[in-house]
């Protein structure tokens, strides 16, 4: 079974959203935008304990009880030949499937408000045609759907002690003792009696017992005697057990102190319990912000557990932590955000095969950007260092406002742009106007910088730019044709300026779509903006200096930059990309 879609209508802060799902779903967004409500939508559908309370007025979008709440989960059953969960669904829904649409199936809860009941009574529907779902018989609040799914809601405040205490009887079921356990159990009971006899024989205990019995009789004259007993023999020895941690090759035991370890243990406990009781139900985990009180390294470990282990076949994870996303692949990213009412976008994120090897790297930089509203993609670390400095001076709060600067470490903007745009996060790109000579044709150059920008345009026909000729050969004194590197550099720079002129219209279109091409490259653009400052700081050839040891020299240079310099740069036409990142107006996005 694959989860494919969730449509939420008229429920809490969702007027009407439809998101794509996979079996691993990550929900993120600012606080109070509705992540928990998103989870609640699923719980109303799949958890009878939540459903039994009915839909209250406040569960209706803007309290509009005239409209019906509908929450519809779509699944794909095309793996039914091999997948047991798909078979399980088929075996329970019977005639609700028809032969013309065997791969799809939908589960829905509807709540039409009933004034007499002062609530919406949830009704369950299912079927393989979205428009013609069939009502499922309910016995009270229980429906056949509840035989199929089990929702495990993992609270952010999951508490080891409570989880353990609540389930201790289930974990150590006395009825499951085998013969040798029963023998041992009898021995323990004898030991407990011995222990209690020893305790009562102590003088200090005896005199206390005598005194307290006297005191009691003064208040109420009854034929009784007060005795002190160890709980071991009263509540049974299982009642005393608590988990400790014992390291390999270390004889000491350690309390499970520390919230992080406790939390991981609580998760393990929960998984164990669910395996014990639910047998064949399809278990869907709803895990809310598990990162709370987990150290970063624990979060990374948990990420591995979530995305790679067999335990969590189907889950919805809400999080603010990028670390939890390091291992994601083929996950549905669900961004809940506020934009005149609550909106929701989902993007099924799959790591392309060409990035498999760098999955973690890609995810690491991408994951942080996911929590922003607006992301400026730059080529490398020197851009990042420079831009960070400028923003720090001119607009230090940009990250709080949802801005984010992402270094793509190269020129592969596309995978980032695709995911971010898919989630309705504004993408701004700043890249160099690169030219690249063709193989074996030293004087033929491709316009790779501009081409890269054009490729980032969505919904436009692919434009393929023709190569250009830059003949930097010279006839030397002996009448021979020679190629001069110095001449090449000079001519390439001139050509870039020409291109910037010649493709003016395309570049304007690109700007409208937040894609900014440098006139030449970062260093030249910077020189145009604050040439004198650069010369003062770096000598007569500052561009060459910066380009020679890109990162180190740029870090050094940023120390020279004053607030005025930064202000000059950000207001220069060639650095409009930065202005876009900090402008308060929402950017029109493609």
């Amino acid at each position: 079974m694959k989860l494919t879609s969730l449509k939420i209508e008229n429920f809490r802060n969702f007027e009407n959203i439809n998101v794509d799902l996979t079996n691993q779903n990550v929900i993120f967004g600012m606080n109070d935008v509705g992540k928990t409500n998103f989870m609640f939508a699923l719980r109303f559908l799949l958890d009878k304990e939540v459903r039994k309370n009915g839909f209250k007025t406040s569960d209706y979008y803007k309290n509009n009880i005239d409209k019906t709440i509908k929450i519809t989960l779509g699944v794909d059953l095309s793996d039914r030949e091999t997948n047991n969960d798909s078979k399980h669904i088929i075996s329970k829904v019977g005639g609700a499937r028809s032969s013309d649409k065997l791969d799809e199936f939908y589960f829905r809860v509807e709540g039409t408000f009933e004034k007499s009941e002062a609530m919406g009574i949830p009704k369950i529907y299912w079927g393989n045609k979205f428009e013609e779902l069939i009502e499922v018989n309910q016995n009270g609040i229980f429906s056949s759907l509840d035989n199929l799914f089990k929702v495990v809601y993992v609270d952010p405040t999951i508490d080891l002690e409570k989880t353990f205490l609540k389930n201790r009887n289930k974990l150590f079921d006395q009825a499951k003792l085998d013969e040798s356990d029963i023998n041992i159990s009898d021995e323990i009971k004898q030991l407990a009696d011995t222990l209690n006899n020893k305790i009562s024989s102590m003088n200090i205990i005896q005199s206390f017992q005598a005194n307290i019995t006297d005191e009691y009789k003064k208040l109420k004259n009854e034929n009784i005697k007060i005795e002190m007993k160890s709980e071991l023999s009263i509540n049974g020895y299982f009642g005393n057990l608590i988990p400790y941690i014992k390291r390999d090759n270390d004889d000491h035991i350690y309390p499970t102190s520390g919230d992080g370890r406790k939390k991981i243990l609580a998760y393990s406990l929960l998984n164990h319990l669910i395996q014990l009781q639910e047998g064949n139900k399809i278990i869907i985990y709803l895990i809310e912000e598990p990162e709370n009180s987990l150290h970063r390294s624990m979060q990374i470990a948990l990420s591995k557990q979530l995305f790679n282990s067999k335990v969590y076949n189907y889950f919805f994870l809400s999080t603010h932590s990028s670390e939890l996303l390091y291992e994601m692949d083929h996950a549905s990213l669900i961004r809940v955000y506020s934009q005149s009412g609550t909106a929701c976008e989902s993007y099924i994120y799959t790591v392309d095969t060409e990035y498999r090897d760098v999955k973690k790297e890609l995810n690491r930089s991408l994951a942080t950007a996911l929590f922003a509203n607006k992301v400026l993609l730059v080529e490398g670390p020197s851009e990042k260092v420079l831009f960070e400095k400028i923003l720090e001076e001119v607009n230090p709060m940009y990250e709080l406002d949802g801005g984010f600067l992402l270094d793509v470490n190269g020129i592969k903007f596309e995978p980032y742009a695709k995911v971010l745009r898919g989630l309705n996060i504004s993408v701004i790109v700043k890249t160099d106007n690169d030219l690249k000579s063709k193989k074996n044709q030293p004087t033929k150059f491709d316009l790779i910088g501009l081409q890269r920008c054009l490729n980032l345009l969505e919904d436009y026909e692919e434009i393929s730019l023709p190569a250009i000729e830059i003949d930097y050969s010279k006839i030397d004194s002996e009448g021979k044709k020679v190629y001069s590197e110095k001449e090449k550099l000079k001519m390439v720079i001139e050509k870039k300026k020409d291109i910037f002129q010649q493709y003016e219209n395309q570049i304007r279109l690109l700007k409208e779509k937040n894609i900014y091409l440098s006139k030449i490259d970062l260093e030249h653009d910077l020189y145009e903006a604050i040439g004198p400052t650069m010369q003062n700081a770096l000598g007569s050839n500052p561009i060459k200096y910066l380009q020679d040891h890109k990162l180190i020299n740029m870090i050094e240079f940023t120390k020279y930059l004053s607030q005025t310099d930064c202000s000059t740069i950000i207001n220069h036409p060639l650095f409009e990309a930065l202005r876009k990142l900090v402008s308060s107006n929402e950017i029109e996005i493609s």
Binding site: R80, I90, G95, S99
Partner: protein, 475 residues
């Protein structure tokens, strides 16, 4: 079979289950009861009719035949809804939303439709395959050709494991299409075949006697004298001198009056005559008549319980609810009681009133009871001749027909050879059922020499020339 069900169920690690499919509601209840003791997972136990209706026909008819059909059809057995061809039957189902039956009662429309649906609907196939690991089918000897085709489709095309039990000798529904050669057909189906040769009910010599005449290959040519099978000479055509003959059996310690005695006759009238003549001489036999609602009606079981409710003061609404297997919520009980309590004052029962009550009950329970069935119910409860059938009887001595005795067992059984023309290979099933009802003693009143001659001849053919090693003969 229930034990095997438990074993198969324990082997299943996924969501799938097993179903036990029976021929009668009574058998369903028996299996449920037995399963309760040994099986703690949820299983499906249904009659074959409700199995196909609930699992195939109602849910998937639209998928297979198109939206003009509805799963909410009514089932009618009345003559006006009978037809000759499948096409007519389907047309009626489509236009009138009524599922009727063939005029030729050897053809089974319900099962033909179910098979056709399975052949057309991928969804239906996937449903059954996803849900069931093994199907257990009880009393397979009562299946007709269409049922057989259906079950073999499940096995051969859907590859669902099938476990069949049955006894070819017990097929007493041949008159309505059950096939006498069904187990021969099964041989071709490549089942693993196990023959159960020990009858756990009967004394060994009684079983051996039955085997000689019905399962010759298991006949044991043994050398001990037999006193549990008795031929009692009875040279009368009616039931003259029956008490005398019976008293002889008692005084010779052949029949023990402190244990169960059941006399099996083939007709209600004979059974009555036997009862009267014995009771006139101080015996205490009770005649358990076969009522019109015992004639294998679709809702026969429900009607029987309803009749018990009506006629028997000790039989309460609680018994009714429990026996019809309805949910036992107070509200249901009260509502059903309101509907049917009118039947309790049995003195002034009139047909019109009964009709109203039954139609209210059937709509409350969401089932269809035909006019024909209601008429048979009225006859059963209004005609005093059937009175005894509805009284729970602790009495040890009974007289009943072979049909009523099916599935039951008694310490001592007495019957009359006139009912069994086994020498011409007739009444074979009835004879087998009759003999094998007896746990400790079987007495045949020989009022017809052809019977005993046939038995002795058959014994000779099988190498037994001393009849007293087969039965004890009494003058």
């Amino acid at each position: 079979m229930v034990k095997k069900m438990g074993i198969e169920l324990n082997k299943i690690a996924d969501h799938r289950t097993i179903a036990a499919i029976t021929f009668t509601i009574k058998a369903t209840q028996e299996i449920k009861k037995k399963a309760q003791q040994s099986i703690n997972k949820k299983i499906v136990v249904m009659t074959n009719d409700s199995f196909i209706e609930k699992e195939i026909t109602r849910p998937f008819i639209r998928d297979a035949f198109g939206p003009q059909y509805s799963g909410e059809y009514a089932v009618e057995y009345g003559n006006e809804y009978k037809f000759n061809t499948s096409n007519d039957g389907l047309e009626q189902l489509k236009t009138k939303n009524i599922l009727g039956s063939f005029r030729n009662n050897k053809q089974n429309f319900k099962f033909k439709v179910a098979l056709a649906i399975l052949q057309r609907s991928v969804a239906a196939k996937e449903y059954l395959v996803s849900k069931y690991k093994v199907l257990f089918i009880d009393e397979y000897q009562d299946s007709d050709q269409d049922m057989h085709n259906f079950f073999m489709f499940l096995k051969n095309v859907l590859c669902i494991k099938i476990f069949i039990v049955g006894d070819g000798k017990q097929a007493i529904y041949i008159w309505r299409g059950a096939m006498s050669n069904i187990f021969e057909l099964l041989v071709k189906e490549k089942f693993n075949n196990y023959e159960l040769v020990t009858n756990f009910r009967c004394h060994k010599a009684i079983e051996n006697y039955a085997n000689l005449l019905h399962n010759t290959s298991y006949f044991d040519n043994q050398s001990e004298l037999v006193d549990t099978v008795v031929f009692k000479k009875y040279p009368y055509n009616n039931f003259e001198n029956l008490p005398v003959s019976f008293s002889q059996l008692v005084s010779n310690n052949i029949i023990d009056v402190n244990k169960e005695i059941t006399i099996i006759s083939n007709f209600n009238d004979d059974a009555k005559a036997i009862t009267t003549s014995l009771n006139e001489k101080g015996y205490d036999f009770v005649f358990i008549p076969r009522t019109p609602i015992d004639e294998g009606l679709p809702n026969g079981y429900l009607l029987k319980e309803l009749a018990m409710f009506s006629k028997n003061t000790d039989y309460t609404i609680y018994d009714f609810i429990e026996n019809i297997g309805n949910d036992e919520r107070t509200q249901t009980r009260i509502e059903i009681n309101q509907i049917i309590s009118g039947l309790k004052k049995s003195k002034n029962l009139v047909e019109e009133k009964i009709k109203v009550i039954i139609s209210n009950l059937s709509s409350y329970l969401g089932m269809k009871i035909s006019i024909e069935e209601i008429a048979k119910f009225c006859e059963s409860v209004c005609d005093p001749q059937y009175e005894m059938a509805f009284h729970l009887s602790d009495k040890k001595h009974k007289v009943m027909t072979v049909f009523a005795a099916k599935g039951l067992e008694f310490d001592q059984v007495i019957s009359f050879s006139r009912y069994y023309s086994i020498h011409v290979n007739d009444n074979m099933q009835n004879h087998y059922v009759c003999v094998t009802r007896a746990k400790e003693k079987f007495v045949m009143f020989i009022d017809n020499d052809r019977y005993s001659e046939h038995v002795i001849r058959t014994a000779l053919i099988n190498g037994l020339n001393e009849p007293n090693k087969l039965f004890k003969k009494i003058e």
